[in-house]
Amino acid sequence: MENLQKKIESLLFVSNKPLSVKALAKFLEAKEADVITAADELIQARAENGVIVLKADEGYQLATASELSELVKNFLNADLREKLTEATVEVLAIIAYRQPISKAEIEAIRGVNSQYSIRALLMRGLVEKIPNPNDARSNVYRVTTEFLQHMGITSVNALPLFEELVKQIQLPEVPQAKAEGTEESENI
């Protein structure tokens, strides 16, 4: 198993894009479950290093530790990333906590056409469009490893729980049950 970890790490190092569990399993001729176990152990093992492993739905990727961002930015002479606008960050929040989610579902939550915000996020590589697993004719959106890089976190699991963030914001008294029902009806 340790050997699998090493192999995964070396491939992530030379790959020019995030590698999915499927791609890793196929290339390493290993079971997907084993790849997941090994990769998760790798994430743990590297968590305190200067180079860490990011995990998004699209796959795994190596990146510098976010607390070193200032240093690396200066070293690369990289420009500050442009800050997100209100609209794009709203859409991003919905996608991050409800992914995979369709455009229609995003717009139902925001009550407004979100085409341009979604496009802006796609262009920045913070989200990506994939075929809807339940209906191949339509698409759904999810966040990418670029989103993790941008936010300085290692996986969407590193985000605070939705319930934790919004516990102050509930419907008053009786209609509460209704609100919960609404939430559940939209697929997480």
Partner: protein, 249 residues
């Protein structure tokens, strides 16, 4: 009453939230009814400012009107309302507000500017020549045609929305012409002329505006019966039913 700020809102729910929060109200059906008029005032300004997002605002405006109407006329039956009630809208608003809170958190992460970097430089150099045998000039042409299709759809999007959003003023004019030809008409007949949902909404808005300006009045003789629309006359004052009050209930 608060003055309406002409500013950019991220959509009708954003506007609605800010109106409710300005008055420090909870998100309830009653507070929705309370801010309905301010909401409509904003939407009227919007018709001149930004027609592209009008359709989104109008659909919420219509729901608010139903809520407001029901608050004043508990017996009022409007078919459109059956899809979603005031409770639904309040729940929706709560959910939206929750996501605004989540967005605030992401914004904080964004502002911290802590980010990770991947390696980009090393492998952007040419390794060798590896063409894909299937990529022919025709394949490239097809791919460009597909991209062009996508661009066309993007361009058409705002135009399609504008087309949908027939102006309220136009509707007001046509309703006035309609009632100048006949003494009275029925609400259901007026709504029947609407070709689609946005037009139903606009018809409603136009009607309410006319009632508010005391050009039209509406009457309902008995519970659950047809609502009649007439030109305003002084003698009708006693039987007048105002759907919109100039002051919040």
């Amino acid at each position: 009453m608060h003055k309406i700020k002409i500013q950019q809102f991220e959509g009708p729910l954003d506007l609605l939230l800010s109106l409710i929060e300005d008055q420090q109200l909870d998100i309830t059906q009653i507070s929705l009814a309370t801010v309905t008029e301010q909401f409509l005032k904003y939407v009227k300004e919007l018709t001149e400012l930004d027609p592209t997002s009008l359709a989104d605002f109008l659909s919420i405006a219509a729901r608010l009107l139903v809520i407001k109407s029901k608050a004043i006329l508990p017996t009022l039956e409007i078919e459109e309302a059956e899809e979603e009630t005031g409770e639904d809208l309040a729940a929706k608003l709560v959910l939206y507000r929750q996501f605004k809170e989540v967005a605030k958190h992401l914004k904080k992460l964004d502002m911290q500017g802590q980010q990770s970097f991947t390696r980009e430089t090393v492998f952007s150099q040419r390794v060798s020549f590896f063409p894909d045998p299937e990529v022919s000039p025709d394949a490239l042409r097809d791919s460009v045609l597909k991209v062009l299709q996508g661009l066309k759809e993007l361009d058409n999007l705002p135009k399609a929305q504008i087309r949908e959003a027939i102006s309220i003023q136009e509707k007001i004019d046509s309703l006035q012409i309609m009632l100048s030809r006949q003494i009275e008409t029925k609400l259901s007949d007026v709504l029947k002329t609407a070709k689609n949902k946005p037009e139903v909404i606009i018809t409603f808005l136009a009607l309410l505006e006319l009632i508010k300006q005391r050009i039209f009045i509406v009457e309902q003789t008995e519970l659950f019966t047809e609502i009649t629309i007439k030109q305003y006359e002084k003698t009708d004052r006693e039987s007048e039913v105002e759907i919109i009050n100039s002051n919040p209930a």
